[in-house]
């Protein structure tokens, strides 16, 4: 078990290393020179351009640039933002927190609800609730998440019921201070991540309910509640954990559009800004962070999956 976890951890790190290579290569290939991007119209002054280039280490060989960047990353020093001149980690710190808060709140709300809906649909298989929920998940999965967000804004904020703030208008350091401003983004993200979880939970629950050990539990005369909660649910959750991880991983990237839509000061918005400004260190850091979240979430899902499976947990030590 421990060895398996270490093995996964190793692959996670390897993955991050490759991601870092790709990200670095990709950002190097961005057209137009960051120095120029910073100066904009003023880049017409060659002296200023050259000075800035030197200041940014852009005149060094690529391998050296990569190495100095990577060795910084290892100690969570992502370099200095090309614009504003502050350390990237300082710049992104509150944003990472804000995004993680958003993701966690979403996960904490969406995952249990989605699983409950899926499980209930499985228990009500082929009845009204099942049909309604599967149709609804299909429709929601079919609409791009930002469209869901736009609809949410229209319905709950600017158009129909004027219940909630339409956009986030606060600071990244105190995200939880304005809970009402979080409602719409969280709702949108929750709707975006839920359909696959609901589907998977339903499918996996149906499979488990059809299994012989659940039938045997029923034949043992156990009350239905015990059958479902003790015998069926724990076995159904294993495969769902993977999907939840996948969805949370998606969330790490998917927040981009939602943060953009809701003006939420998270890493997604930081990424869009950075791409626009050709702010390489920030792009690199964000891409790497998102990948890291993904790797981490998957690692956790793997561990949960392993832990939930006594076959692995007990036998392979």
């Amino acid at each position: 078990m421990l060895r398996l976890i270490l093995y996964r951890l190793f692959y996670g790190l390897l993955t991050l290393f490759v991601v870092s290579l790709v990200v670095f290569a990709a950002t190097q290939a961005l057209p137009s020179d960051p120095a120029q991007a910073i100066l904009g119209r003023e880049a017409a002054d060659p002296a200023r351009l050259a000075a800035l280039r030197e200041q940014l280490n852009l005149d060094q060989p690529l391998a050296l640039q990569y190495w100095s960047w990577l060795s910084g990353v290892a100690v969570l020093d992502f370099g200095t933002s090309l614009s504003g001149g502050m350390p990237v980690s300082e710049l992104l710190g509150p944003r990472v927190q804000a995004s993680l808060t958003l993701m966690l709140v979403t996960a904490v709300i969406a995952a249990p609800i989605a699983m409950a809906i899926g499980a209930f649909a499985a228990l009500r298989r082929d009845r009204r609730f099942d049909h309604t929920s599967s149709m609804a998940t299909l429709v929601l999965a079919a609409v791009p998440e930002f469209a869901v967000g736009i609809a949410g804004i229209l319905l709950l904020s600017t158009g129909g019921l004027k219940l909630l703030p339409a956009v986030y208008a606060g600071s990244s350091t105190e995200v939880l201070a304005n809970p009402d401003q979080l409602v719409l983004p969280v709702l949108t993200l929750a709707i975006a991540v839920s359909p696959p979880i609901i589907r998977m939970m339903r499918a996996s629950m149906i499979e488990v309910l059809e299994s012989e050990y659940v039938q045997q539990a029923r034949l043992k005369g156990l009350p239905e509640r015990t059958v479902i909660w003790r015998h069926a649910a724990p076995n159904a959750i294993g495969p769902v954990a993977q999907v939840i991880a996948l969805q949370l991983g998606w969330l790490a990237g998917g927040v981009v559009a939602i943060e953009f839509l809701f003006n939420f000061p998270g890493i997604g918005k930081a990424l869009m800004d950075a791409i626009e400004a050709r702010n390489l260190p920030v792009i690199q850091a964000v891409a790497l962070l998102i990948a890291a979240v993904y790797v981490l979430v998957n690692l956790i899902a793997d561990v949960v999956g392993l832990a939930a499976n006594p076959k692995v947990r007990v036998s392979s030590r």
Binding site: V22, L138, A141, I150, G159, L271, I275, A287, Y294
Partner: protein, 295 residues
């Protein structure tokens, strides 16, 4: 086979001629509904450009009026006819979505089957690469590449197909592993049937069901990703008429001119729902072949 055969065979229960996959699928209501929905959207996308009253870029009236004279659904934020843009804008999105989904599923299926069947270094290589690609945030990758190479159609297709391929490869490999364990594959190996033929003729037909489900899902995700890219300004570029772009351009004025958003969103949703219903029906039908409770 010939009727003579059936007649001569003394078997008491002559086998009912099994309807093909398509016909079996057609028996499900959902398939029919799916075909109608998806078909309608495809029709709009394909025939739309020939039916549109205006060119997609010409001005047809004052901007953002939901009921400009001479237009069916009013004008957009620069006074172009919303309906004409809607009719013109499906073609690109549908083509890109379907092309990238097909390419992704095809590539993923190939990789998945090869990895699942050969189970040697190729498997390791493919799956490890896959894991890494999987860990690479899809949207971030798309944004990066698009900002490097510029928003080109082939690039959008390639990126989306790639991100599909590794997910499909995973699913395919899982499905393949189940099939590979079965003895009919070994049986072909025992008589030396070439590996590629085994993959094509023995394995592929047995994993069509999960592949079809994937295809439906992939079309959904393609549409979503394309629309999101357009939304973030990295997809198709204005003034092109495109559903994803229309949603983005129209959303600012949605309260006074909802059609510019409602039409493309509906079309996109209907298309993906239709596609999912069809593939769902197909996959149910192809699972049915395995079950065969017919007495």
């Amino acid at each position: 086979m010939s009727t003579a055969d059936t007649a001569s065979g003394a078997a008491p229960a002559a086998p009912v001629r099994r309807p093909g996959l398509l016909r079996t699928a057609w028996r499900f209501h959902r398939t029919k509904i799916g075909v109608v929905l998806a078909g309608a959207v495809l029709l709009v996308a394909a025939a739309g450009p020939f039916l549109s009253p205006f060119s997609p870029t010409e001005g047809a009236g004052m901007p953002n009026s939901a009921s400009a004279a001479g237009t069916l659904f009013g004008t957009d934020e620069v006074g172009r006819d919303v309906f004409s843009r809607f009719l013109h804008g499906g073609y690109t999105l549908v083509t890109i979505a379907v092309a990238s989904a097909l390419a992704g599923v095809a590539a993923g299926a190939v990789f998945g089957i090869v990895a699942g069947y050969l189970r040697n270094w190729a498997d390791e290589l493919i799956m490890r690469t896959n894991d890494m690609l999987l860990a690479f945030p899809q949207l971030v990758l798309a944004l990066l590449l698009l900002s490097i190479l510029g928003p080109k159609v082939w690039l959008i297709v390639a990126i989306i197909a790639l991100s599909h391929a590794n997910r499909v490869a995973r699913v395919t490999r899982e499905a393949t592993l189940k099939v590979v364990e079965q003895d009919f594959v070994k049986s072909a190996e025992a008589i030396g049937v070439p590996r590629w033929r085994i993959m094509a003729a023995e394995i592929l037909p047995n994993i069509t069901s999960p592949l079809l489900v994937e295809l439906g899902l992939r079309i959904t995700y393609s549409v979503g990703t394309i629309a999101t890219l357009s939304f973030l300004g990295m997809g198709l570029q204005p003034p092109q008429a495109d559903w994803g772009l229309m949603i983005n351009e129209g959303r600012t004025a949605i309260t006074i001119q909802p059609w510019a958003v409602v039409l493309p969103v509906t079309a996109v949703a209907v298309l993906t729902i239709g596609a999912n219903l069809i593939t769902d029906g197909l996959s149910r039908a192809s699972i049915g072949i395995d079950r065969g409770v017919e007495k």
